[in-house]
């Protein structure tokens, strides 16, 4: 029974590692400038975690195989080096390495959160609400008009609560249900929620950021590949959570300019 357990454990450990080594399930290809840092950090952590996982499970399996049901006369022996050796091993091999990994990993985090967006970044506002995202572009004046939550009205499609009759800045604002951005241009995404918590997750962009009702948050990123990508909500927001999504279209600058003109005409 013990030997069978040991073999089962070893088989499970190795089988668990196979899809990782074979890259069977992987995140979609990165389309951002900062994403490589995250992907590299992920790979380095995977190597370390994989070694720790396999080594510990296989040694556990081996010891179960070797030291179970021993005959009566055999004596108890102690692990060479005893507890002290193992404590030192835990501190150095796992502790130091994991802490170092964490320290290097801050570089990827810092690249998103500790640097401000450049002055030339394109500002886009995104509003999350049960169960849709809406996007706002500032229009030719480059300024967003103020929000009036009491004027939000889905029936008249005033999703943001804009008062275009009185606020001159709002007049040229462009509100859309899809997000389009020019390729290789930094985007400064200004985020707010109108009701409950939501999240903005684009796997390919390596960006995930919660919307916090009552807080204005922002992230910035630079998409590098033209294409259409899914924006999903990852913060449980109610019964339609599973269906709350929009699309991000990364276009050439020329296509983006045309798209923006078309959207402006539709307002």
């Amino acid at each position: 029974m013990a030997k069978f357990f040991a073999v089962t454990l070893a088989v499970i450990a190795i089988a668990s590692a196979i899809p990782i080594v074979m890259h069977t399930w992987e995140p979609p290809v990165d389309i951002s400038v900062h994403g490589k840092l995250i992907d590299d950090q992920m790979s380095e952590t995977m190597v370390e975690a994989g070694i720790c996982f396999l080594a510990s499970q296989l040694v556990l399996a081996f010891f179960i195989w070797r030291y179970s049901n021993r005959p009566k006369g055999e004596k108890i022996r102690s692990f060479p080096g005893g507890a002290k050796g193992l404590v030192v091993a835990a501190l150095i091999i796992v502790g130091l390495e994991v802490m170092a990994l964490g320290a290097f990993g801050t570089k990827a985090w810092a690249s998103i959160y500790f640097t401000p967006p450049s002055a030339s970044a394109l500002p886009i506002q995104v509003q999350a609400g049960q169960f849709a995202f809406y996007f706002r572009y500032p229009g030719p004046d480059g300024t967003f008009g103020p929000l009036h939550p009491e004027m939000i009205n889905e029936a008249t499609e005033n999703f943001f609560g804009l008062d275009t009759a009185h606020d001159p800045d709002s007049k040229d604002d462009i509100v859309t249900a899809e997000m389009a951005v020019p390729v290789n241009r930094e985007i400064h995404l200004l985020m707010h929620s109108k009701d409950v918590g939501h999240s903005f997750f684009v796997r390919e962009l390596r960006i995930q950021q919660d919307f916090v009702p009552g807080l204005d948050l922002s992230v910035h990123f630079t998409p590098t590949k033209i294409g259409k990508y899914e924006i999903v909500c990852t913060q449980l927001c109610g019964l339609g959570h599973y269906n709350m999504k929009a699309y991000l279209e990364v276009m050439s600058q020329e296509d983006f300019d045309n798209w923006l003109k078309q959207q402006a005409a539709l307002q």
Partner: protein, 594 residues
């Protein structure tokens, strides 16, 4: 520590009537069994909920016959609505975390065995102990009542993030009465745990018998003691958080609701609250809660493993200090649940390092377990198999924590199935393996009968392989970007992942079915099992020095005197390889290697 051996008198007389003996009992053993039974009822409810969710995820349009009787509107014709999926998910998490993972390994086993293992005849405050169980029972009834109110249970998950949880019915089905019942239930539950923790702490510090120094306490006692200390502070924060949430619902306050929220085109009549406040309060409890579930299991597993390895661990002290370090660090790591929540990004770095640091004491414990297996004389039985399975699960679940502890990687893995796989392995499955190990190990002591070993091993094999088949693929799904808390995967992106979901569902159904074997074994052995001797596993701690089942006052009116460290195994005796803790016999065995 008191010397009470000379005048050991049980401070309350044995009850005679059925109600005082089995219902409103003051006896810590009966209370321990009551907690265990409550967890048993809860775990099967939680299991059925997980089955229903898994079937729905794999076959979203399939009718689950009978489900319409639980909720006509939630599952018309047995086909679940999107909101009902979330409502069942909330109840699955709530029931499992609070009423199983906290209740069984800590309150259940702890109540029964902590006083016996320290050499006491009961806890110092038996009435408070009785109250702690009945308060917990009421909390359970209130939680389950949410199934039967109009609109059903809340859909905001076991984490009940505000303002979804605070706005009331306008935020979604179940967010009115159901959510209030949830918050009332958890607040009451906290009271029960606080009362229980007080008793555990005072029993450990004040009721130890003569000779039972702190370092002579078995590791299970240390684990329950440390858990009580964590619980005392963690539940003391969750309770007021729940009270504030209730006030937001019933008193028109705005603790967790900011100004100018618009739902259904209507401005909500709240202003000035903070949604992140709920997350801070909740996770200040929520992360230590992980250790409230896992530390008792660590203690139980150490105790079971040592007995079956026939040797003490390489170091008793190092395990104790490591568990204490985990408890200490547990309050400094909770922010890793909130890396992308919108809190200050510098805080994420500050929370990341203690989270990474907690791997050190956890690794030390694992290495000491594995290192102690070297040169041991391991006995294989259902209890030791589950204890070894625990180690494997704890390693697997713990290692995925390397990823989630790093804010940069969390950007990709947060709110995906990777997180679900991680916490199910390290917290849920590992703790359940601890509960199973404890059950197979202590069942003979509690009932005076042995459990069926063959059924126990069948239970182990299916559960061990099954748990890996369920929760390892969760990690892969998460890495591929499969987000959690979705009732169906409607977009093209997740369609290729559906075969994995189907595989997981089938594994979950089979693994769940194996739990019925356990239930049958438990009930059958309770009444018809082979009679158990006093010390079937040749253990050394005090519970094995008394009859099975133990008498009302545990030690027959005379408290024991302890002469040894708790795990005197590997002793070269003529007939046995161990010396009981209360045996005056001198030993020359190798003591704890310090």
């Amino acid at each position: 520590m008191h010397d009470m051996s000379a005048h050991a008198v049980h401070h309350h007389a044995p009850p005679t009537g059925f109600i005082r003996k089995y219902i409103f009992s003051l006896d810590h053993k009966v209370i321990g069994e009551q907690y265990y039974l409550l967890a048993l009822v809860a775990v099967y409810i939680g299991l059925v909920l997980s089955w229903i969710m898994r079937i729905h995820l794999a076959w979203p349009n399939a009718a689950i016959h009978g489900l319409q009787f639980l909720s006509k509107t939630g599952a018309p014709g047995g086909v679940m609505t999107p909101e009902y999926y979330l409502q069942l998910m909330t109840m699955h998490g709530t029931i499992m975390v609070f009423f199983v993972l906290t209740t069984a390994p800590f309150a259940g086993f702890g109540n029964y065995f902590l006083p016996i293992q320290v050499g006491a005849e009961d806890m110092p405050f038996p009435h408070i102990n009785m109250m702690s169980f009945w308060v917990t029972f009421v909390a359970f009834i209130v939680a389950v009542a949410a199934f039967f109110v109009p609109q059903g249970p809340p859909l905001s998950g076991w984490t009940a993030y505000a303002p979804l949880s605070a706005l009331g019915e306008v935020a979604g089905p179940g967010q009115g009465t159901g959510q209030v019942l949830w918050a009332v239930s958890i607040a009451i539950f906290c009271v029960g745990q606080l009362l229980g923790s007080l008793n555990f702490i005072s029993t450990t510090l004040d009721m130890r018998c003569q000779g039972m120094s702190l370092m002579r306490l078995p590791l299970s006692v240390w684990a329950w003691f440390i858990t009580s200390c964590i619980g005392l502070t963690a539940f003391a924060v969750l309770m007021p958080a729940c009270i504030l949430l209730i006030l937001d619902h019933v008193a028109g306050t705005s603790f967790f609701i900011p100004s100018n929220l618009v739902v259904n085109d209507q401005i909500q009549p709240h202003s000035g609250g903070s949604t992140l406040l709920w997350q801070h309060l909740f996770w200040f409890f929520g992360h230590p809660e992980v250790y409230i579930a896992i530390v008792p299991a660590m203690g139980v597993v150490s105790h079971v493993l040592i007995t079956n390895m026939r040797r003490p661990l390489l170091s008793h002290r190092v395990i104790i200090y490591s568990m204490l370090s985990i408890a200490f660090l547990s309050y400094m790591v909770y922010g890793h649940h909130m890396f992308v929540s919108g809190m200050n990004p510098f805080s994420s770095i500050a929370f990341s390092f203690p989270t990474l640091a907690i791997t050190i004491p956890a690794t030390i414990i694992v290495l000491i377990w594995i290192g102690s297996l070297y040169g041991s004389k391991l006995r294989i039985n259902s209890a030791s198999l589950f204890a070894l399975g625990f180690i494997s699960m704890f390693i697997s679940g713990g290692i995925s924590g390397f990823f989630l502890a790093q804010p940069s990687i969390d950007i990709m893995l947060h709110a995906t199935y990777f997180v679900v796989g991680h916490f199910h392995l390290v917290m849920a499955v590992a703790a359940l393996f601890g509960i199973f190990a404890g059950t197979y190990f202590w069942f003979p002591k509690v009932t005076g009968r042995m459990m069926n070993e063959t059924l126990g091993k069948i239970h182990f094999w299916v559960t061990f392989v099954g748990a890996y088949c369920i929760f390892m693929p969760f990690h892969y799904l998460g890495m591929a970007g499969n987000v959690r808390r979705y009732q169906a995967f409607v977009d093209d992106f997740m369609a290729p992942l559906m075969p994995v979901h189907k595989f997981i569902t089938i594994a979950a159904l089979i693994t769940g079915a194996a739990q019925l074997v356990f239930l049958y074994n438990l009930i059958h052995s309770r009444f018809w099992g082979k009679p158990a001797p006093q010390n079937p596993w040749e253990g050394t701690s005090l519970e094995w020095s008394i009859p099975s089942p133990p008498p009302f006052d545990n030690f027959g009116g005379k408290l024991p005197v302890v002469y040894h460290d708790p795990y005197q195994y590997g002793v070269e005796g003529e007939t046995s390889d161990f010396v009981m803790q209360d045996s005056p016999e001198q030993t020359n065995s190798a003591r704890d290697e310090r």
